[in-house]
């Protein structure tokens, strides 16, 4: 089945930031977590996927079309949440919805009303009076109410209380249950990714460091914590990232069996968590086996102070 979203060798150059040679895809029926620190390029990627900016190199395809020039029928299949949800703040929630709804042929008014009730978004309150969390809930209700095939969510869980975050993640999991809906959501919250993401796309400084199934990381990757005397040996083991700590060094290795064979007894070898990957991963080498399509990346120095 055709991927809902595809990035192929995408670059976007700004004065002070550049996204370089990013490739990944979002297949139907899956949730892809886009993760990276502030300024990594997550919002730029969401904007490219929405057609709000054009690429400088490479191609972005949404349902097989270039989003920057895609017609209304393609764009109607996308639900979106921007990092900073911008509405017409002088209008009430229901009036903003009355502006947005006519654009979507598949808009489900009953579903939208149900979502507002469920999310606790007051209908008659001016959008400008909503708290940050409630604005995000309103944006999510707008994104979900037209039963989009592809949800592009830029840090949708930011500012949400843990209870609602939990129920939102459940809802996203439900949404992909039909096998035709897919989700790309950016976040810095590893717990969100561990719960619902099928694939992880990790970017840092505009470069793609990892793309692949989440379970590859959780099942196969290892963190090796050792004294400084093993630094050279760990560096020679092709780590995906290394950091110097007060106690010694930490290294992220992509094969836990090999790591245990080589370092057990001399170092602490643990299963890697997504947080470990987020903190340590510096090496943009090809991902492990998985369902994701081929893509590229660049090498960089793999060590840092932690």
């Amino acid at each position: 089945m055709e991927n809902h979203l595809e990035f192929a060798g995408v670059s976007k150059i700004y004065d002070r930031f550049a996204l370089r040679d990013v490739s990944f895809s979002v297949p139907p029926g899956y949730i892809v977590g886009l993760v990276g620190p502030n300024g990594a390029g997550k919002t730029t990627m969401i904007r490219l996927a929405l057609g709000l900016a054009a690429t400088d190199a490479g191609t972005v395809r949404v349902f097989g079309h270039e989003p920057h020039t895609a017609g209304a029928e393609v764009r109607a299949r996308i639900g979106f949440v921007h990092e900073t949800a911008a509405f017409y703040d002088h209008l009430s929630v229901e009036r903003v919805a009355a502006i947005v709804a006519p654009f979507y042929p598949t808009w489900d008014g009953a579903l939208f009303a149900r979502l507002l009730d469920e999310f606790g978004v007051p209908r008659r309150t001016h959008a400008g009076s909503l708290s940050r969390g409630t604005r995000m809930k309103f944006a999510l209700a707008l994104a979900l109410a037209h039963r989009a095939d592809l949800l592009l969510l830029d840090e949708p869980t930011t500012g949400l209380d843990p209870v609602f975050r939990d129920s939102l993640l459940d809802r996203l999991s439900e949404a992909i249950g039909d096998g035709r809906t897919s989700v790309l959501f950016s976040t810095q919250m590893m717990a969100d990714l561990e719960r619902i993401a099928d694939f992880i796309v990790l970017i840092r400084d505009g470069r793609l460091l990892f793309r692949g199934p989440k379970d590859d990381i959780l099942d196969h990757w290892a963190v090796v914590r050792a004294g400084p005397e093993l630094a050279g040996e760990l560096a020679a083991a092709s780590p995906r990232g290394m950091a110097t700590t007060r106690q010694g060094v930490e290294a992220l290795l992509a094969d836990i069996v090999d790591a245990r064979r080589r370092f057990d007894g001399r170092a602490v070898v643990d299963e890697a968590t997504l947080e470990d990957v987020f903190l340590l991963c510096r090496e943009p080498r090809a991902a492990g086996a998985g369902r994701e399509p081929a893509g590229g990346g660049q090498r960089s120095d793999g060590t840092r102070e932690r």
Binding site: A54, V74, F80, F87, R95, I99, P102, F103
Partner: protein
Amino acid sequence: MRQLLMKDVRLVAPFLWLIVPAHVLMGAQSFLLPEFDFWWNLAAALTWTVAVVSIEWHFDADRLVASLPVTRLTVVQARYSSALAGVALGAVLYVVYGHGVMAIAGDRLIGRWHGVPAWTSADGICAFLAVGYVLVIGFLPFYFRFGFPFGATLFVVSAGVAVSAAAGLARVGDPAARLVQARGGAAMALQPSEIIRGWFSSLAASWGEGPASLALFAGAAVLGFLSVWLSTRFFARRDL
């Protein structure tokens, strides 16, 4: 397109009540400075366009609109349609308001005017529509290229420079400028209907009225097309 036009209506709907006090104010100033009536009314008509784009800028909603299922070409076309509809609506209000003022105090106004006030004539309405049209098709490419606050500022500065340059050239040999000088100087210069009539008369004298009218409409259409084309190109290239 229809959804975008409805969006504009909904955006300014909370402020539509301002139309009444605005025209009361304009009515009051008609007795003080009748020369400015045309421009007051035109400014009120253009407020529609400015209000919509400033609301979108203020709430950073360009990104929201561009994320909706519409192409950028449609966004551009809808903005032109909305702005020109605003000018047309303004022209209607201009006539209605003008006739209202004339019915109440026409004799006093005529006494202070250089003839019958512009709103009572077809020339005045044509001038209103023509100047509104030129301002809209001049402003929107700046807006789509640079966004609202900067684009508007740049447009005002550019328009000021263009008008000054045109006025300078007009002094050299333009019949409209001679007409303005002959019929009242500065006060007449504030009446575009007189200027446009002067230009049209000189054109009609050379070509005949029919061809002159056709040439004016064709020129307006070409300028409008050029403006939409530029705006579409600018907006397509803009990162939001």
